[in-house]
């Protein structure tokens, strides 16, 4: 079914939407691994109904497992069906532990084969990225055909971990059929998405866009088959530095 929607935008605000419709699946927006630092149990009487704040929404998805046993059962079913086995095995190479709720520290990170629980705030920021993804996987936060929005997921990750994160994103798309929207400034991450989407045979489902500022307007260009243009932009700073190095000024 195709639906035509008219949006009226003025003064940076949406003034009117011609046809209001709701998506059948949820959108999870992961913009910053520091979202984990503010995580806390939400009392049942304060349940978030209207997710106006994407961080609250993400946090509520992350702590879901502790409140809903039916979700737990469903997840166990998915795990036993090997659906996410491959993804978990890969995450475990970096993040073998799990997020747990603990009376002493509140939310903590418990390493596998160890009783030590670290306050979730104190684990490295790179690791937090993987903990978020693993927790969402384990507590059913990722829905079949759902949507994830990732804002520069490479932030805080060493290039080697960027490659692994990109592989996980590709596998999640393949296994769950999720719609994944992400932006990046990292040539490592971009290339990894290209290579892993080809490796897992979903490259034909990927679209690449480049945003350019042209006289105060952002132009979005489809560069799916001319991705070289993106790398040109990412290579430019290296050239700038070399020019700087040999400049007489």
């Amino acid at each position: 079914m195709k639906l035509l929607i008219f949006l009226t935008v003025a003064d940076n605000e949406v003034k009117n939407i011609s046809e209001v419709f709701s998506l059948n699946t949820e959108v999870i927006y992961i913009d910053d691994p520091f979202a984990l630092d503010e995580i806390r149990t939400i009392p049942p009487f304060f349940k978030i109904i209207n997710y106006t704040n994407h961080r609250w929404h993400l946090q509520s998805k992350l702590i879901n497992i502790y409140n809903d046993s039916s979700v737990k059962d469903a997840i166990n079913e998915i795990i036993t069906s090997n659906k996410i086995d491959n993804i978990l095995t890969k995450i475990n190479t970096i993040c073998s532990g799990e997020m747990i709720q603990n009376r002493r520290v509140g939310f903590g990170y418990k390493k596998s084969n160890s009783d030590i629980v670290l306050d979730i705030k104190n684990i490295s920021t790179g690791l937090k990225t993987f903990v978020i993804l693993k927790t969402l996987l384990l507590n059913g936060g990722l829905e079949e055909n759902g949507t994830i929005v990732l804002d520069e997921p490479e932030i805080h990750l060493h290039p080697e971990w960027q490659l692994l994160f990109a592989e996980l994103i590709v596998l999640i798309q393949k296994e769950f059929g999720m719609h994944i929207l992400l932006n990046t400034h990292s040539p490592y991450f971009l290339r990894a998405i290209q290579v892993y989407s080809a490796k897992y045979e979903i490259a034909d489902k990927c679209k690449y866009y480049m945003s350019e500022n042209i006289s105060d307007k952002a132009m979005i260009k489809d560069v799916t088959t001319s991705i070289n243009e993106v790398y040109a932009k990412l290579a430019k700073p290296l050239e700038t530095l070399e020019i700087e190095r040999y400049s007489d000024d």
Partner: protein, 201 residues
């Protein structure tokens, strides 16, 4: 070190680097990946002579050239075009060439491990058909080449002073069958190999 030209099968296949770099897959446009006149042994010719009386139903594959430096030998393979479907062929050429070479000189791989190097000279796919196909939708298992990505990769490897092993050949063969394994673009091959050995002719 053995003198290759003491072996008749090698000396009768004496050739030039340019000739062994010839790619005539497309008869209408014959491509040479180097114009160097350095003397080498045409190893495809060696292979053909080696199997001449064996009545084989399948022909072994072979590296393009064998070059004798002062103290070391070099197998050289030229590959023009998309490597995606070619890598397994490159590896088969390595195995077949090593077996033929070690049989001819009556030495084992413990000798090649100390005295023989391997160079793959490759070229990014740039045929008209390939460039044309990029305008269409991506295939499900396709990664488009991006010249500017290579630029970033090369800059970083230069800063680090490392030679990239982009097809994993060094990882697989160095210190096992070859002393050293190099993967060069045409341009790198000219700078790092041809220039060095042309002055020694």
């Amino acid at each position: 070190m053995i003198n290759l030209y003491d072996y008749k099968i090698f000396s009768k296949n004496s050739s030039s680097l340019k000739k062994t770099s010839k790619n005539d897959a497309d008869k209408k446009s014959i491509v040479y990946m180097t114009s160097s006149k350095i003397n080498v042994i045409d190893f495809d010719g060696v292979k053909n002579d080696y199997i001449a009386n064996l009545k084989l139903s399948d022909t072994p594959k072979s590296n393009d050239a064998l070059f004798a430096g002062k103290a070391e030998l070099f197998f050289i393979e030229f590959k023009n075009g998309n490597m995606k479907n070619e890598l397994y062929k490159v590896k088969r050429k390595i195995f077949d060439s090593l077996l033929i070479f070690t049989d001819i000189v009556c030495k084992g791989v413990s000798y090649t491990r100390q005295k023989v190097n391997y160079i793959l000279v490759y070229n990014k796919e740039n045929s008209k058909e390939y460039i044309e196909s990029l305008r269409n939708k991506l295939e499900k298992d396709e990664v488009h080449d991006a010249r500017n990505y290579d630029k970033i990769m090369n800059s970083l490897s230069q800063f680090a002073n490392i030679e990239l092993d982009i097809f994993g050949l060094r990882n697989q063969f160095e210190k096992l069958y070859f002393k050293e394994v190099y993967t060069y673009t045409e341009q790198e091959f000219e700078e790092k190999f041809v220039k060095q050995y042309e002055t020694n002719i």
